[in-house]
């Protein structure tokens, strides 16, 4: 019995000694281990509000609108652009057409509202707007923080004096670009408007 106790005692002592030696062993290298997780810049069209015929691309990056248009007609189209990334984004927009001769008969206005958090009530500038465009809009897009969204209302108006043979179909592309340093993401609203003879 005594032998067993002695053996156990010795084992414990050796274990403790080994632990001590191992713990006190000199560190001959020091390390700085780094993980860098990159951010994401991403916007998408969260919703649309239009009387035109529309289709949305599966990635919610392109809204295609089509309809006929007559002289003096105004089409208001609203979109909600959401910053789904992890960085703030500066939004800019441009409008281009595929018919530089016909585009002179068109005019447009764009108004921006926001930014809004996801939980914010935007009905007053969206589906329950008292006037069109809703009041309080800005002509320049706001800076869009991560997870925030903005509302953009745009009208496309064909001049009442547009001659019947000015064009048959025109494609108007509105490009909204989010920028953060050198990163960009873009969404498009493409109007395809037919001018009936």
């Amino acid at each position: 019995m005594n032998k067993q106790v002695l053996v156990a005692f010795t084992i414990i002592l050796l274990a403790l000694a080994t632990t001590g030696i191992t713990y006190s062993h000199w560190i001959d290298t020091a390390r700085v281990q780094t993980t860098a997780n990159m951010a994401k810049l991403a916007i998408f069209i969260q919703n649309q509000n239009t009387t035109l015929t529309w289709t949305m691309s599966p990635d919610n990056h392109t809204l295609e609108l089509s309809n006929t248009i007559t002289p003096g007609q105004t089409n208001w189209t609203g979109i909600i652009i959401k910053n789904n990334g992890t960085t703030p984004a500066t939004i800019t927009y441009t409008i281009a057409t595929n018919d530089t001769e016909a585009e002179k008969w068109f005019s447009n206005q764009t108004y921006f509202y926001g930014p809004y958090a996801e939980a914010d009530d935007i009905s007053a500038v969206w589906d329950k707007a008292a006037t069109m465009p809703p009041s309080g809009g800005s002509l320049t897009p706001p800076e869009l923080s991560a997870k925030y969204r903005l509302v953009a209302w745009q009208d496309i108006t064909l001049s009442g004096t547009c001659p019947p043979d000015a064009f048959t179909t025109i494609k108007i592309t509105v490009t909204y670009t989010a920028t953060f340093h050198t990163w960009t993401d873009t969404v498009y609203v493409i109007y395809t408007l037919t001018y009936p003879p």
Binding site: V5, W26, T29, V32, Q33, N37, A39
Partner: protein, 296 residues
């Protein structure tokens, strides 16, 4: 009955060990210090992070020192082109020997996406016992860095420990005495001693050993053996020669005394001797003496 006593003893040992271990951990860990000095220990003791953002707080950088002090884990979140993360850290030599930084390497990483710079922590630097040095690691995210990507890299700082130390005047007297077949137990071969004296002769403005090996050894022994009634100049030269010997042997590397290296003290002492600044002799003699005793 005996079994119960043994069990109680073992339980008491375990309990006491646990208490001691816990207390040691609470106070910075266990060090086996086989007095007077025989251990090497270099650890990170402090880390602080910041970045180059002024207006918008987009990116984040965090850092943590591991429990054993050997690793800093850095996490940079939400990084983007032009983002710079700064990791300011402090290394301390907690051992009793000087430690030499042999190599600083930034292991393979995507150089198109990240740019790294390490400031202050450079190879061939010595860290004296209890000395701390601070380094700054800058991680710069470059324009081609990809969104949603994770980049990893590792900075490895390799150390080696100076296990030698300066020896006293008595040690050197023994070496020359034995080499002259008088007395003592040699640890430095005669050929090495001769090399040391030749090196000192070529570098020193005070010492010049001439003649055959035996003559040179005798000259060195005479200088190293001033009597108690000798002048301060003789005592200074004795300690200075011992320091020279430690220096050419490479046993002063990494050590500092009052912020001075061995070579700086040697230069100061030799200048005082050349300019006959007698009032300074004792000061330099004491510095040389103290340096030669750093190993004790």
């Amino acid at each position: 009955m005996k079994t119960k006593i043994f069990a109680l003893i073992i339980l008491a040992i375990i309990a006491l060990t646990s208490i001691g271990y816990s207390y040691a951990c609470l106070n910075g860990g266990i060090q086996v210090n086989c007095y007077p000095s025989c251990y090497c220990n270099v650890v990170f003791i402090k880390v602080r992070t910041y970045d180059n953002e002024i207006e918008k707080d987009v990116g984040k950088v965090y850092a943590q020192i591991s429990c054993d002090g050997g690793t800093i884990q850095v996490c940079i979140d939400n990084s983007y082109p032009c983002y710079k993360a700064y990791i300011n850290f402090t290394i301390k030599n907690k051992g009793s020997y000087p430690v030499h930084i042999d190599e600083v390497t930034i292991q393979d990483y995507d150089k198109t996406a990240l740019e790294m710079e390490m400031i202050n922590i450079i190879a061939c630097t010595w860290i004296s016992p209890c000395e701390t040095i601070s380094g700054l690691l800058t991680v710069h995210t470059l324009q081609p860095a990809q969104e949603c990507h994770t980049y990893t890299f590792k900075v490895v700082i390799k150390f080696s420990c100076q296990t030698e130390h300066p020896y006293t005047i008595g040690f050197w007297k023994n070496q020359f005495s034995e080499a002259l077949c008088k007395s003592g137990k040699p640890q430095v071969p005669a050929s090495t001693l001769l090399t040391y004296l030749n090196q000192i002769s070529s570098q020193s403005k005070i010492f010049n050993f001439t003649g055959l090996q035996k003559d040179k050894f005798q000259q060195a022994l005479n200088i190293l053996s001033p009597s108690t009634s000798s002048s301060m100049e003789a005592k200074l030269k004795a300690q200075l020669l011992a320091l020279w010997l430690n220096y050419v042997a490479g046993w002063t590397d990494g050590y500092k005394l009052d912020g001075m290296t061995a070579k700086q003290i040697i230069d100061g002492a030799e200048t005082a001797l050349i300019k006959h600044q007698t009032s300074q002799y004792e000061y330099w003699k004491n510095l040389c003496d103290d340096f030669n005793n750093l190993g004790d």
